[in-house]
Every structure is written in C-alpha cells, then in structure tokens.
C-alpha cells in the first residue's frame, strides 16, 4: 500500500504550483494512470481524500483517466490494446510481445484552479 505516499507526492506538487502562482483555490487534480504503474486506483482515491485533509487541497477532486496497456505487435506491425495484463499477446494474431507502448503512466496531467484576478478598472 504505497498509494498514500503517491497521494502525498501529488499534493506536494500541486501545493508548490499554487504557491508559485501566488495562491489559488484548487478544484481538481487530473491524473493519468496505467495498469502497469503498480498503483491501485481505488486505494489512491481513498488515500487522496485522507491526505488532502488540512491542506490547501482539502475538498478537491482527484480525476483519474485510465490509460490502457498498448503493445506493439511485430507480426501485425501495429499497436494494439492489450485485453488483459495477465496475457501479453496481440489480441488480433495472438503473437506474444513484451513491447509495451503505454500503460506505465502515473502522470499528473493538469489541475483545475480558480485564481483571484483584480477587477478591470473602467
């Protein structure tokens, strides 16, 4: 269960970004998560909520985009989406392949913020 430390890292990164901008309210963090990252989505969601308490990010949402595992099949000469991470083979021709194109992502993509802006003088 290392999802709590992952959640804490995200909060730390987001807090640094907010401070760099001189303050803002954070509504949501967007994360891309691949099945080969070794991170469990539900455990991360739970950890995030707990870890946010008492921080700048309290009340913010964690929005996770699931990234599929995509492999390159040398036989078909094409990228294919893997059907199961229990079986690394081309879903079309059945050729075994260890050539992973995507699926290891653990990427903090973006954050939704609200910044205070001074009213424009007329």
């Amino acid at each position: 269960m290392h999802e709590l430390s992952i959640a804490l890292s995200m909060i730390e990164m987001a807090t640094a970004e907010v401070e760099r901008r001189g303050g803002a309210q954070v509504n949501a963090l967007h994360l891309k998560l691949g099945p080969l990252s070794g991170v469990v989505k539900d455990a991360l969601m739970f950890s995030y909520e707990v870890a946010c308490q008492g921080t700048l990010l309290e009340g913010s949402q964690l929005v996770i985009e699931d990234v599929p595992v995509v492999i390159y099949c040398a036989e078909c000469q094409a990228e294919r989406e893997l059907e199961s991470i229990q079986r690394f083979c081309c879903p079309v021709c059945g050729e075994l392949t260890a050539d992973v194109v995507s699926g290891k992502e653990l990427e903090f993509v973006a954050m939704e913020i609200e910044e205070r802006e001074p009213a424009v003088a007329l």
Binding site: H2, M13, R21, P35, L36, E112, I113, P118
Partner: protein, 241 residues
Amino acid sequence: MSTHPRLVEVRQNVLKQNDVLARSLRQRFEAAGVYVISLVSSPGSGKTTLLEKTLTQLRVCGYRVAALVGDLATENDAARLARSQAPVKQIITGTVCHLDADMVERSLDEWKLSDLDCLFIENVGNMVCPSSYDLGENLRIVLMSVTEGEDKPLKYPTIFNTADVALLTKMDLAMAVEFDLIAARESIQSVRPGMQVLELSAKTSEGMDEYLRFLEARIGTRPALAGASIPAVGGDFPFII
C-alpha cells in the same frame, strides 16, 4: 476582485523526484564501476538465503560485493547476510512497504563505491509496491519459490513486468509440493514474454552454478572490469516510468 476557473497543465510524473534521484544514482554507480542488482519477491521466497550464498560465492571468486537490505522492522536479515563476511547495511523502513531511491542514497554514505564490483539491494518482501520505484539498479531480479503456486505471475503481473530476470527458488521442494514447472514457466512468459528464467535451490545448491555464471557475465560486462566503453546510463534497465 473576481475568480476565474481554469485548467492548468502540469504534465509531470508523480514519481519524478524518485526517478531523478534514481537516474543520478545510476550515474554514480556507473562512474564508480559498480554493478547493482536488486531482488524483489514476496516475503519468504528465499531472498536472504539466496543472497547470503551469492555474497559468499562471489567473494570466493574474488568479487568485491556488498548488500543493502530492506526490512520493515528487524535487523535479522542483515545479521544473516553478515555471515558472508561482505559489508552489509540494513535499511529499516518502518511502516513503508518498499525501498525508494532516497533510502538507497542515504544508506550509501559510509561506503566507497569504487571499492566494490557489485552491490545487491534486497527489497522489502512485497510483490506490489516495489514495482513503482526505480532504485538506480542495473538489473532487477524477481524471485518466486515453488511453494507459492504456479500462477503467482498472473496475480502480480506488474512486478514481473518491471523485472529483468525471474528465479524459481526452493526447487528442492518442487516434488513435495507437486510444483508444475511447465505451468509456472508459461505464467511467466504470459506476463513477460521472453523473460529469462533460472531454477535453483540455495539450500542444496542445485542450479546455483548456472545462476552464478549468469551473474558473473553481467558483472563482468562492466567497464571497470571489461575495459569497455561506458554504456548509456540505464541502458540495460528497461523500466523507467
């Protein structure tokens, strides 16, 4: 004053800090001419027993070896490994279920890396969390004992996917537990096609020669020993998120 909601792009790997540190460790190991091997597995699959024998044997062959060993609470493993006479350091992780690059870096303080040919890092017994953390190693070995069941790779595909080589350990017990070697090999190839698999028993020494020859070939390819040009950083380590 008004508020203005918007989306700000970040695009950073959450484990960036660890990866940056791991990369600098890999460069440091490279510069010192030390080959680094990490071991991952479930608790009880025989990492410490195998490592004790490995350190002893490699020392006999003239290699300068050392080990870092991760454990949640005790120093028992380090005490066992110290019997090999090799320098050993325990990393007690407390409640943390894996080693990270920072823990490795902090443990290296008192050692002169250029005095070593090979450094082993025994991770905490855990088949999930260690897969996310690059430790700057050159080779990651995943162990699976015959008592764990042939389908273990299918249950923990990610750890097999991030490792370079698989060892089937406790082969002396294979008959007693009716271990199906073909099924186990098929499971490994299913989650990591082309993965090299070695079978051994650290207790009876069955398969140990082949395993040690494999290690020596890896350690021997280092520039300090082979006199070859320095390969690209992380060149034989495929898992970098």
